[in-house]
């Protein structure tokens, strides 16, 4: 009698584990990566960091006298955000203060998420945004994080009271499902996107510069045609 009881428990247990494994395998098997690239204008130069109003940022800025200057370049990784919107879960809204600025500086988050900005810089920051309750001036020491519950859809500018170059363009949308990783050369990639129909959106600073419909098929990696961005388009 004892031997029959011990044999039933392992069967139920095995069945349950097998079911779970099946669901997991089945899910994993459906997600596919999405790749693409954005193309910037050839002679595009990012806006000067000099303040329109206010004192000059320096007394001296001169060529070193030895090596030719490097041309100014857009920090694509920081300032271009490529996202998918549609049906699905939120990818989360974690961002950083890194290298002395927000990374990314163009932030797309989903309403209802908890916005979290971690300070990985060696210096403190004092982030604030006008119009968002809960994002008043507050110092965030190195290693700490600033959090905020995103309760409404909208667009806001996050600034730093200590550093004028620190600016974050927060876009809170309702149907964010995936946030792509953008590289300096303009290539981006989404990993593990569930099959279905989505809208690919590209944000640059305070505006959306591109949007297109994409269909993700099961089991097929999607490569989106390169998107030529017009970064001079005014904010919509």
């Amino acid at each position: 009698m004892t031997f029959r009881t011990s044999r039933r428990i392992p069967r139920v247990l095995v069945a349950a584990v097998g079911a779970l494994l099946g669901i997991a395998v089945g899910t994993t098997a459906a997600a596919v990566p999405i790749r693409g690239s954005v193309q910037l204008p050839r002679d595009f130069a990012p806006p000067s960091e000099a303040r329109e109003n206010g004192p000059a940022g320096f007394y001296w800025e001169e060529w070193n006298g030895v090596l030719d200057l490097r041309p100014p370049r857009l920090d694509v990784e920081r300032e271009i955000a490529v996202v998918l919107t549609g049906e699905g879960d939120s990818p989360g809204s974690d961002f950083q203060l890194s290298g002395g600025a927000l990374r990314p500086s163009t932030m797309v988050a989903r309403s209802g998420d908890m916005l979290r900005i971690a300070n990985t810089d060696p210096c403190a920051h004092e982030l604030f945004a006008d119009g968002i309750e809960g994002l008043a001036v507050l110092q965030t020491a190195p290693g700490n994080a600033r959090t905020l519950a995103l309760t409404q859809v909208g667009h806001w500018l996050i600034q730093d009271r200590l550093y004028p170059h620190v600016k974050g363009y927060l876009h809170v949308i309702a149907d964010l499902v995936a946030r792509g990783t953008v590289q300096q050369d303009g290539r981006y990639a989404f990993s593990d996107v569930a099959p279905g129909g989505y809208t690919l959106k590209v944000f640059y600073r305070d505006r959306m510069v591109h949007s297109q419909r994409v269909e993700v098929e099961e089991g097929r990696e999607l490569t989106i045609e390169p998107v030529a961005l017009d970064l001079t388009t005014p904010r919509q």
């Binding site: 960091e49 000059a56 001296w60 060696p122 550093y163």
Partner: protein, 655 residues
Amino acid sequence: MLLSRFWYFALATAVFAAMTAALLTQAAFNRQYDSDINDQLRRDRFEIELMLKMDARSRIDAIAPIAANGDIRSALRTASGRENGAAMPADVSQRLGQRLRDLNRQLEGVAGEIVFAVDKNGDIVAQVGGTNVPSGASLGAFPLVDRALSGYVRDDVWVYNGQAYRMAARPVIDSGQYVGAIVHGKGLDDELARRLSDRLDGATVAFFMRDRVIGRHMPAGEAARAEEIEAPLVQALTDERLQQGGRTDPVDLGGNSRAVYSLVTGGAAHAQVGYAVARPRHQLASSWQIFDLIAFDDVKALPLPVLIGVPALLFFLGMLFVWLERDRPYGRLKRHAARLASREIDRFTITDFGGGYRKVASSVNDAMDKLVEQVAATSPKRKAANLDEILAPAPQAGVKPAPFFGFAGQQAQEADADIPDVPPASPGPAARGPLAAPFGPGDAPQPYRPMAPPPPGPRPPGPPPAAPPGPRPPMPGAGFRAPAPPLPMPAGGPGASSPFPALAPAPGQAAGQRAEAPSMDGLGGSRGSARPGWAKGTLLGVGDPNAIASGSSGDGGFPEDDEAATMVAEVPRELLAAAHSADPDEGHFREVFERFVEAKKECGEPVVGLTYEKMSQTLRKNRDQIVSRHGARTVRFTVYVKDGKAALKATPIKE
């Protein structure tokens, strides 16, 4: 007083101008001082900007050896060559940190308080000073570092972990590539404020971050304190010009200093990091305080001759005006008043004075006139001086005139006749009586003789006449001094060369007998015992010869009624000769007038309106009347005092 008044006006105007100048000088000084201090503060701010710029340049140049150091370059090349996402090699960081520390120490005065060595991405490889760096920390997004990594040398101002730093960065180049950058930082602190303040000579320099001062230096002596600079910070930071990169207008700090505020040139301006420069502000609280600012050299430079000479000249000029317009006319008035008091003059001559003094003189004259009128009104009514009445009216027609002689009884009754009674001639000695008093003005009424009686002249060779008696004592109530003596007798006696011929001795009178007393009516001469036919009457007429003989006159023969005391004596021949002039009596009239005026003054009577012309006219008229009525050759008038008043008596002269 025009000059004096003008002088007083000029003096008041000068005082007004001086006071106004003093007050305006105070206001002008304060305003000019404020303007000067504002200009000084603007220059100070400009100099601070220059000094900070040169300081930035010096730091940029100072870190060049560090950026060019081989160890630094190789270490950064190694760090920049690692794979993306790979951790920083620890030994590289350690070696680089040590080398960085050594090189920074060699900078001495320019040594950084924080120094970073970053790779080509801005990741911190090594650090000197500051807080612990989290692993993988980067500074690549800071514009200073980003531009340095692009090949620029540049400066900036950071707020790094609560402190303000003056930053400088240079790229590190190795093998033709940018492998990283050196980032150097020095604090915005008291030391920098001291260096800047020393260069500005007396200015307070302070650095601030938002509403607090983070570095300061106050020079010795009067200087603005940090608390005073901090107080207006909140207000100053809202200044639009300051926010746009300029400076504020000069701001008063507690009333004793002024300051201008400005943000720094760099990223820290966004964090409201700036500096203030202040200077003491001296204001004159009163006009007197300007004397505290006077130096000895200023006094030495004063034109003393002008400063002393001009006021002295103006002073003497003013004194001259005062003397001309006040002292001199006042002195004149005083002298005339003294003369008026001593009766040298009867009244002020107003043309002798000018201006207000003329009015004073006129007022005094008016007052005297009114006083006279008031006295005249309150005193018993006295008829106006009428010489006709004094001289007695002429006998009326149909009325038998009083006998020329022998008027003793009648004279007393006709005392008010127009023509005064001619006193009868003095009777002979026999008829006279032993107690007959000599005729003359010694009898009442007393003639007015202001002078002392002369000594009697020598007796004539003939029967020596008795010396004329002295003047009788005045009647009670006459109130005048001893009557004047009679006219001096001729040297040869009454019959000598006197203008009044002596009377011939009376018939029956032997020479040597005592002659009758001569007339004392001013005619001189002596009574003679032989009288002319017309000169019959009672000498010293007075009254009834019988009364005289009986001695009933009461006073030894002198009549009580003095109006009958005149005796007509023989008219001296000289007198008759003197009557050959156009108006031979002119001299007599003049003399009578003078004596009459004098008598009135002695009696205290007014003499206003009494002129010689009027009196002589009256005398002349009465003389003519008496002469025509009595057949006299002329008339002689005498002045006497009656009841305390001056009066005249007429005596016709037959020959």
